[in-house]
């Protein structure tokens, strides 16, 4: 009897710990080898056969197709530079320059990877579409209300993900953070709806 109870206890712990940690790893997007540039996180290894098992599992579960490393690199973030969650009811300013690439795109998604409905059908900008300052820097205002300049509408959703993708770029597995890869800063302002 003691043996049976012990065995059941053991199996319950195994199932709880095992499945619970797997679920946690997948929902928290736990994967290794992130290239962190400011708030932006990229996983250049995910576009190669060297992808780690956690990223593979998460990608299979979400149904994504990772950007291949000969194509480009994707960076994403759900927080600003101070770690505050991006809120679609507030103004978020994305400002700065980007590492060298033939093209880049910046796109706004719901956390599950859908585009966000808005009256302009504007879901993001390409590097060609952005209005830049004389210095070459650009400023994008991610906001629920109309803004002049580069306005990226949020549709007022509470949380979202920004994705910055570089195509035909030297950025990759060997990139180190710093001057080599200047990424735009992200700042959540208190200007909320």
């Amino acid at each position: 009897m003691r043996l049976l109870i012990g065995l059941i206890l053991s199996l319950v712990i195994a199932a709880g710990i095992g499945l619970g940690s797997t679920w946690y790893a997948l929902t928290q997007n736990l994967s290794f080898g992130a290239l962190e540039l400011g708030a932006w996180k990229g996983y250049p290894r995910n576009g190669t056969v060297g992808i780690d098992p956690y990223a593979r599992a998460a990608i299979a579960r979400n149904g994504e197709l990772p950007v291949g490393s000969g194509d480009g690199v994707a960076f994403s973030t759900a927080v600003d530079d101070d770690g505050r969650m991006l809120d679609g009811r507030c103004d978020v300013v994305v400002r700065g320059t980007t590492p060298p690439a033939r093209y880049f795109t910046i796109t706004l998604y719901t956390p599950s990877g859908r585009l966000v409905a808005n009256s302009l059908d504007r879901y993001g900008f390409t590097s060609q579409e952005l209005v830049r300052e004389a210095s070459g820097e650009f400023e994008i205002t991610v906001s629920p209300r109309v803004r002049h300049g580069n306005w990226l509408p949020t549709g007022g959703i509470d949380s979202y993900v920004l994705m910055l993708r570089f195509y035909d770029t030297s950025l990759g597995i060997t990139t180190r953070a710093g001057r080599e890869a200047p990424m735009p800063a992200i700042r959540l302002t208190r200007n909320c709806q």
Binding site: I13, V49, R56, L65, D71
Partner: protein, 180 residues
């Protein structure tokens, strides 16, 4: 008391094993991975344009709306595949995925040069079986080795602004992937 601690320890270790097993098995058991999502839309050995992502629907999550995208499923069981993707005005890339969504090779128009991206896709064994002279004549052709028999080829053509999307889409209409 010691006996219970041993059972708990055993449970924790078994839990670690369950964790590793489920993480490693998940890519092969996921029923809604990208390949499974695209399989009903995309034929074997033929490119199909994927519908542009909208807020309501997207073939796979996190699709880049600035790109026209075409996909082709392949099966190398009967022999190698010949791939031709015309290069669009701005930027074109082709990415190869295994059946389980690992991006094992990607090439863009600059790396490929010319007016179209042309290459042969085959397994390592099929490459080894190529007659030597053929290998020589094929020297200027790019050969890509697939680690799996089946998989997915995704061609993407960039539209720097929305008005150029029809042109990018038109370029991908002529893309081909078929047995040699």
């Amino acid at each position: 008391m010691i006996r219970w601690l041993l059972w708990i320890m055993g449970g924790l270790m078994l839990g670690g094993l369950v964790h590793l097993t489920t993480i490693l098995a998940l890519p092969r058991t996921a029923s809604r991975d990208a390949y499974a999502r695209l399989a009903p839309l995309v034929p074997v050995h033929g490119f199909v344009l994927l519908p542009a992502p909208t807020p309501e629907a997207s073939s796979v999550p996190f699709m880049d709306p600035a790109f026209a995208v075409a996909a082709c499923r392949y099966d190398l069981a009967k022999g190698p595949i010949k791939l031709t993707v015309p290069v669009s005005q701005a930027y074109t890339s082709v990415t190869f995925y295994t059946r389980y969504d690992v991006a094992y090779y990607a090439i863009n128009d600059r790396a490929a040069g010319r007016r179209s991206i042309e290459l042969d896709l085959m397994t390592t064994k099929q490459r080894d079986d190529l007659p030597d002279d053929e290998e020589v004549t094929a020297a200027d052709r790019l050969i890509v080795e697939s680690p799996s028999l089946t998989g997915l080829i995704v061609a993407r053509a960039f539209a720097p602004e929305p008005s150029l999307l029809p042109a990018a889409t038109a370029a991908l209409r002529a893309a081909q992937c078929k047995p040699q």
